[in-house]
């Protein structure tokens, strides 16, 4: 009798599997190599926010004969660490989304291979020092403090303008930021304060916390729940977000935006793409980098990934052109400094903010 139970279990499993509602029969579709033996499948490893319009990718596949497989690997940090851990057997051919806060860890580990992809006009200033042709800048965005301008004008109060203002009593309990340890914009804002205050950042953050700053885990709940202009009916009119955010709070007639970014509080985030060392299809990988830098893909960046292109002469969406002002001189830190100090900073930041 006992023998029959596993048989029944197996039969049950097989019956359900055979019922057809299953993924496993699907397969990958398409050949992995073309007739001349060249691999056609190219695997792009990227972060969760990656997106490009499907028709654009389809046109590229048709033109080049490659088939693009996109694999997401978490946020920028998770992506970088996965690339580092799997560098002997890379999980794809090309990676996009490693940013300037994480890039030197990947470069130090030898994740990327040198390629000869030509940079478009305008991309040069975004190059990572020491990248040596291994990674190419694809997009940029600035993390800035945003204010609900309508909230302040309705109360006839002046909105803050600088880092220092955020610690003044006039702005007590009005500021919310995502945490540096759990959120990429939160990290960028933290780095901006380090770039500004150097080793004095601990003193600054102590004053910031003493002034009633709220720390959330992610950008979504800072902006959507706590921020007054985020739609969740929050009570804090000052939030850490992006320089492009004002383009999403535009009035119905399109003439004005109710929020604005404080351009003296910005930190520049640049995202890079590069061919992975040991890739099965390095030529395909380079073709994907070219795709990301192409005029069409660069023009799609604002609407697909909410970032600015690095290429000059790309037309921005109307709301962006009008309301997404980029800071003339955003803060920056050398990537090697970030990598060397990240762990210490994060531990100290956690101590200061969870006191």
């Amino acid at each position: 009798m006992k023998r029959t139970i596993p048989c029944i279990a197996v039969a049950l499993g097989v019956a359900v599997a055979a019922s057809g509602c299953s993924l496993s029969g699907g397969g990958d579709g398409g050949e992995a190599t073309s007739t001349d033996g060249r691999p056609t499948r190219v695997v792009l490893v990227t972060h969760d926010s990656f997106a490009l319009p499907a028709p654009l990718v389809a046109a590229w596949e048709k033109r080049t004969g490659y088939r693009l497989v996109v694999r997401r690997a978490g946020d920028a940090g998770a992506l970088t660490n996965k690339l580092v851990l799997t560098k002997d057997r890379p999980i794809g051919d090309v990676a996009f989304g490693v940013d300037n806060a994480f890039a030197s860890r990947a470069l130090d580990a030898g994740v990327f291979e040198k390629t000869d992809v030509e940079l478009p006009v305008g991309a040069e200033p975004f190059q990572l020092p020491g990248a040596d042709g291994r990674i190419a800048p694809v997009d940029n965005a600035n993390v800035c403090v945003n204010v609900d301008a309508d909230w302040f004008s309705a109360r006839k109060r002046r909105p803050p303008a600088s880092f220092e203002d955020l610690t003044r009593p006039a702005y007590r309990n009005l500021f919310v930021t995502p945490g540096a340890t759990t959120s990429s914009p939160g990290m960028a804002f933290f780095l901006a304060t380090v770039a500004r205050h150097g080793d004095g950042w601990k003193g600054y953050w102590t004053r910031l916390m003493a002034n009633g700053t709220k720390v959330t885990s992610g950008w979504s709940d800072a902006y959507e729940v706590d921020f007054t202009a985020g739609g969740g009916g929050g009570t804090r009119p000052i939030v850490v977000s992006y320089d492009s955010s004002p383009a999403f709070t535009v009035s119905k007639d399109g003439t004005r935006s109710s929020t604005k970014a404080l351009l003296d509080t910005c930190f520049r985030q640049v995202e890079y793409a590069g061919v992975l060392a040991g890739a099965r299809n390095p030529r395909g990988g380079a073709a994907v980098v070219e795709l990301l830098l192409s005029a069409d893909a660069q023009a799609a960046l604002p609407t697909s990934m909410y970032v600015f292109p690095v290429r000059s002469g790309v037309t921005l969406p109307k709301a962006w052109a009008a309301f997404a002002k980029q800071p003339p001189r955003p803060a920056a830190l050398p990537p090697a400094t970030i990598t060397a100090n990240r762990e210490k900073w994060m531990r100290e930041w956690t101590d200061v903010t969870s006191r």
């Binding site: 029959t4 969760d48 996109v70 997401r72 580092v84 739609g231 929050g234 492009s244 609407t303």
Partner: protein, 556 residues
């Protein structure tokens, strides 16, 4: 027959039993080794082995930090408190919705299970909208406190207790309780002295699972605790994901494994069997004595309803008014065609994946449940079966981050080059669902009197007939509960799925996550609408599964 023959035949019987055990356990153990032991060991090795030498120095350093002690302590007490609260409300709901003929109980049971599938990031935001500055419960001042975390843990887990205990309660023999009542015991006394002890194994089972869920809860702790509270799980995430400090992450993973193993050992001791009735009793009408249970159920319903209502309201909000625009937008690829697939396609993928994960979880879970509930003839055999039981609970207690990174670094070369396999997602989900399946089946399966099987066999029933007439009538309902659970787990699973899902076929929770991290009211509205659809899909699946009838058993 002389003594030697007897000993020989006893040894043969023992050998046969162990062979059966091995046969039953072979496939599940192989799956466990490849998809759990190997990846976790791979990550631990990278943390502990430095330049080819085992170096425990870094591990000790981490364990000695005061922060680590604080984190472990908070994890332990928040999980214990979350489990206790889930038990109280869950058991009350099990009584009210499985044993009593309360109006609308099937719908309510399905509704209470909905939180189980909701993406934590969305629930976190919904909770904050309820308790935050502008929410209906703002006056309680709970935003960012440990109480908020506890409420969320109960929100997610009370239904696990309700379903686990409920299904055992449903098939429990009511006569002892009736006898006690007839002899003059008060309802409270009957509950304390007859019913709860009889339900002990089912309660211990559910409590173990809920504790593991609470101890490894991740998203809600981060979102609701405002980063002030860290658990072992959130620390491992930070150390692995952000800092790539593998020795420290390995140290905490080891702590986590030890906590879980201790817990499982303790829970294993308390596990006995439920006496099941051959023909389960019909639910009875509501009496005055049921008031506390009904009241507690209503409290639970309110706790579940508040964030859900906020969610639905948010999904319907359009430009200052209300409408269905967000739901209509789910058939598109979102603003700027930014999604790889439409949300409706993602839902189809979710449902297909759920079917796969469910049959896998049952395929692995049923043999385990059978193997661990067969009668043991020796202490060693009993320990062996107990260890087998515990081994399949481990995946619940280990960080999804560790497991996810482990997949990438270990399943990367033939014959186990599985990183590309489309089966990886359902297998990972099945592993998460597996403990639930086993926990639901074992109390009932173990409660079947072996003599009934023997009696049936001696009356000439074949093995299949025995199974169909003795085991199935009692087990089929818990089996459906288990299948429903597995589907719900799969529908809502995000941690493992997010980095395994291939981009051309993301599941609905992955799409929700993408939408919610983008700016703009439309993306936010679509994320909430997609969550509502996910919740509705879960409720429908669970209602449908519960309504499945095995031919000839409608009498139940």
């Amino acid at each position: 027959m002389d003594g030697r023959d007897l000993a020989l035949s006893a040894r043969r019987a023992q050998g046969r039993r162990l062979a059966t055990l091995a046969a039953l356990a072979a496939l599940p153990l192989a799956v466990l080794c490849v998809f759990f032991v190997l990846p976790v060991a791979g990550m631990l090795r990278r943390g502990v082995v430095v330049d080819g030498h085992v170096d425990l120095g870094a591990v000790w350093d981490v364990l000695a930090r005061p922060r680590t002690r604080r984190v472990v302590w908070f994890t332990a007490w928040s999980a214990a408190a979350g489990t206790a609260a889930s038990l109280v409300l869950g058991i009350a709901a099990a009584h009210a919705l499985y044993r009593l003929r309360t109006p609308g109980r099937a719908a309510l049971r399905a509704a209470l299970t909905v939180p189980f599938v909701l993406p934590t990031v969305v629930v976190g935001i919904a909770f904050r909208e309820v308790m935050g500055p502008a929410g209906p419960l703002a006056f309680l001042g709970l935003d960012g406190t440990p109480v908020a975390i506890l409420l969320a843990l109960v929100f997610f887990n009370a239904s696990v207790v309700m379903r686990g205990v409920g299904s055992a309660w449903q098939s429990m023999d009511p006569r002892p309780a009736e006898a006690a009542a007839a002899l003059g015991a008060t309802p409270w006394r009957v509950l304390r002295t007859v019913t709860l002890p009889a339900l002990g194994p089912a309660i211990a089972s559910s409590a173990t699972i809920v504790f593991l869920f609470c101890a490894t809860a991740f998203g809600v702790v981060l979102t609701l605790g405002g980063l002030r509270y860290s658990t072992v799980e959130t620390e491992i995430y930070l150390l692995t994901n952000n800092l790539l400090d593998l020795p420290a992450a390995a140290a905490l993973s080891i702590v986590q494994l030890m906590m879980v193993t201790t817990l499982l050992a303790v829970a294993g001791r308390s596990r006995r069997r439920v006496d099941v009735a051959r023909v389960p009793p019909r639910p009875r009408g509501v009496r005055r004595g049921d008031a506390p249970a009904v009241a507690a159920t209503l409290v639970l319903a309110a706790l579940v309803a508040l964030p859900l209502v906020t969610l639905v309201r948010g999904a319907l909000r359009v430009d200052g008014g209300y409408g269905l625009d967000n739901f209509r937008a789910l058939q598109t690829a979102g603003p700027g065609d930014a999604l790889a697939v439409t949300a409706t396609d993602a839902l189809a993928t979710s449902l297909r994946t759920a079917v796969d994960a469910t049959w896998m979880a049952l395929l692995i879970g049923i043999p385990i449940a059978v193997a661990v509930t067969r009668t043991s003839r020796s202490a060693a055999e009993r320990r062996l079966r107990g260890a087998l039981d515990g081994a399949f609970m481990l995946p619940l207690g280990v960080s999804a981050v560790t497991l996810g990174f482990g997949f990438l670094v270990t399943l990367d070369r033939p014959p186990l080059d599985l990183r590309d396999s489309p089966l990886l997602v359902p297998v990972a989900q099945a592993l998460v669902a597996l403990p639930l399946v086993v926990r639901v089946l074992t109390p009932v399966l173990g409660g079947i009197d072996e003599h009934q099987r023997q009696a049936a066999a001696s009356l000439g029933a074949g093995p299949l007939r025995v199974l169909a007439t003795v085991d199935l009538p009692v087990v089929w309902r818990p089996l459906l509960v288990a299948a429903g659970f597995a589907m719900a787990v799969s529908l809502g699973e995000f941690g493992a799925t997010s980095f395994l899902a291939r981009d051309d076929r993301p599941t609905l929770p992955v799409v929700v996550y993408q939408l919610i991290s983008r700016p703009g009211a439309v993306n936010h509205g679509m994320a909430l609408a997609a969550s509502v659809v996910l919740a509705a899909a879960c409720a429908v699946v669970i209602l449908a599964v519960e309504r499945l009838r095995v031919p000839g058993m409608d009498a139940l």
